[in-house]
Symmetry: C2
Subunit: 322 residues, 2 copies
């Protein structure tokens, strides 16, 4: 079977497709024949830093083999997170992490769901504890952003504020359910957020940006707010952090990453997400936003496209017809 | 009645005792004849910053009047948090924030309980989510420190690590239940913590210190650790914060203060604390550590004593015999 790895750690030209044996599922695992996989920033980091990696953390495909007990059967269409090797014709997936694909969704749609929707669910609800009030979702047109906007819209009464860098991206966010869109090129977003929240600030921040937004986020957050840090696209080092401000506002700053978490965590998250969100996916109220579909052979172009921040929504790799 | 206020915001010599009418309890409140009150750092800040403050946020005394429904009766010995005016012969207290004083405890013992034990309970359990694993309690011989050590010892299986600045203070911490005492004058505490936790770091940090401990705390915390920031005795500004380190360790940094929180929060905290901890107070397994008792007339000396960091445990004001 074909699988993507690298010649050596580095830029996208290091990517290569090699031939490998089909993996064998261990007890509790499924063998999936992969129809589509999706590209994530974690794959870029893996490509840059690991030796001989098997890239790809999410797939959609068909169950071909089951080892041990499982609620799935051979032939089921499933999607879900894998620990590695998603950019491949076959991948193994823990059975408790697979989700049945609703009939209305294609494989390329489905491959775009697990990583960003599970991340958005985890950050909004498990870490952000969002119920009512308000949330600001930075990078609103990103994969996680587009998932988070829809989840917040359908599952909570919160006011949804987003930031993005173009009118086109903001329009997408508003179609998905955002109440307020802020173009960060035009405005100090913290001032606008305070206006939109009667001076109280937002209860939850989904922060992919980090250092460059620190001061504005600190101004934007409400007393007892949850500030979920899930990326550092705007830099990692903040100069002059005022702890008294965090104390006085009783801020909860929560750093998180999904990929390195334990199997049991991912299984529990998958179960809760699927129970609460599958009906919305099945009736089309919530849907994955796919920007572009590349063939697996064009994986290098797909990585370069993500690194150029050209996408609104997900980048998907079509692996094969199944 | 006598009550403590200030001539103007400033140092301890601004404190003065004045005559005032006995306050009237509103619906849902008790009038307490105060036998003893305790001194807290929040009182120092209030004295320095507010105009005409009534100082003191915790008292022990006798119920003399009840307005509305209450589970208490006239004559009950109670302790609890008040919103202001604890350094006084009478104070009003929301009924749902009062706690019956166990028979084995004197009023001066009881006055030393509410603020530090409720803070320790809130930070260890509500914010720190401590169950098993390990915790480091900085300023272990402080009021909150001595309360937190005992609560962690009796209510969890966690390994309890403390830091303090003298052998005498560390000996006190170990009598209260600390497993490991670190003198911060002698050692980089983060190295010792990593040794004591097999290189994993601690699951919970109770941090009263802030800026000067930042880097060492960051080294000391485990993946998925909760870092509860409840004071900035070591400064408020951290020069450089590495957000990637917070992200990679999935740190939850939670700033908190108890005094400014809502009445409903304090009532819920009081109820849960009393349900879980009163049996230990009644049988003497958990007890308040009182450093010194001053007469109300010596309130200025009491404040100076706290500001000189001379105390191990609580500073109490004896108000009157009741």
């Amino acid at each position: 079977m074909r699988i993507v790895t690298t010649k050596q750690p580095g830029e996208s030209e290091q990517l290569q497709i090699v031939e490998q044996d089909v993996p064998k599922p261990s007890v509790g695992e499924l063998l999936i024949e992969v129809a589509a996989a999706a590209v994530n920033r974690t794959d870029i980091i893996t490509r840059q830093t690991r030796v001989n990696p098997y890239l790809g953390v999410e797939v959609a495909g068909i169950v071909r083999e089951i080892n041990g007990d499982s609620s799935f059967k051979i032939g089921d269409r499933v999607m879900g997170l894998v620990n590695q090797g998603g950019y491949s014709e076959y991948a193994v997936m823990p059975s408790d992490r697979a989700m049945l694909i609703p009939d209305n969704l294609s494989f390329t749609d489905a491959a775009a769901i697990p990583e960003v929707f599970l991340t958005a669910y985890q950050t909004l609800y498990w870490l952000g504890e969002l119920q009512t009030g308000s949330v600001v979702i930075h990078a609103g047109a990103s994969g996680v952003g587009t998932a988070a906007i829809q989840l917040a819209k359908q599952l909570t009464d919160a006011k949804i504020i987003v930031t993005a860098g173009s009118a086109q991206k903001l329009a997408l966010c508003q179609r998905l359910g955002a109440d307020v869109g802020i173009n960060y090129h035009d405005t100090d977003f913290s001032e606008r957020i305070l206006q939109e929240t009667n001076g109280q600030g937002v209860d939850v921040i989904l922060d992919f940006i980090g250092a460059s937004y620190w001061q504005q986020n600190l101004k934007s957050i409400a007393v007892d707010g949850r500030w979920v840090l899930i990326g550092i696209l705007g830099g990692r080092i903040v100069e002059q952090v005022d702890l008294f401000a965090l104390l006085e506002k009783r801020v909860q700053l929560k750093g998180t990453l999904l990929t390195p978490r334990a199997d049991s965590y991912k299984a529990a998250l998958t179960k809760e997400f699927y129970t609460n969100v599958a009906p919305y996916l099945a009736n089309g109220t919530i849907y994955p936003v796919v920007d572009t579909i590349f063939d697996l052979a064009d994986v290098q172009t797909a990585h370069e496209y993500m690194e150029a921040n050209k996408n609104s929504g997900k980048i998907v790799l079509r692996v094969k017809e199944v």
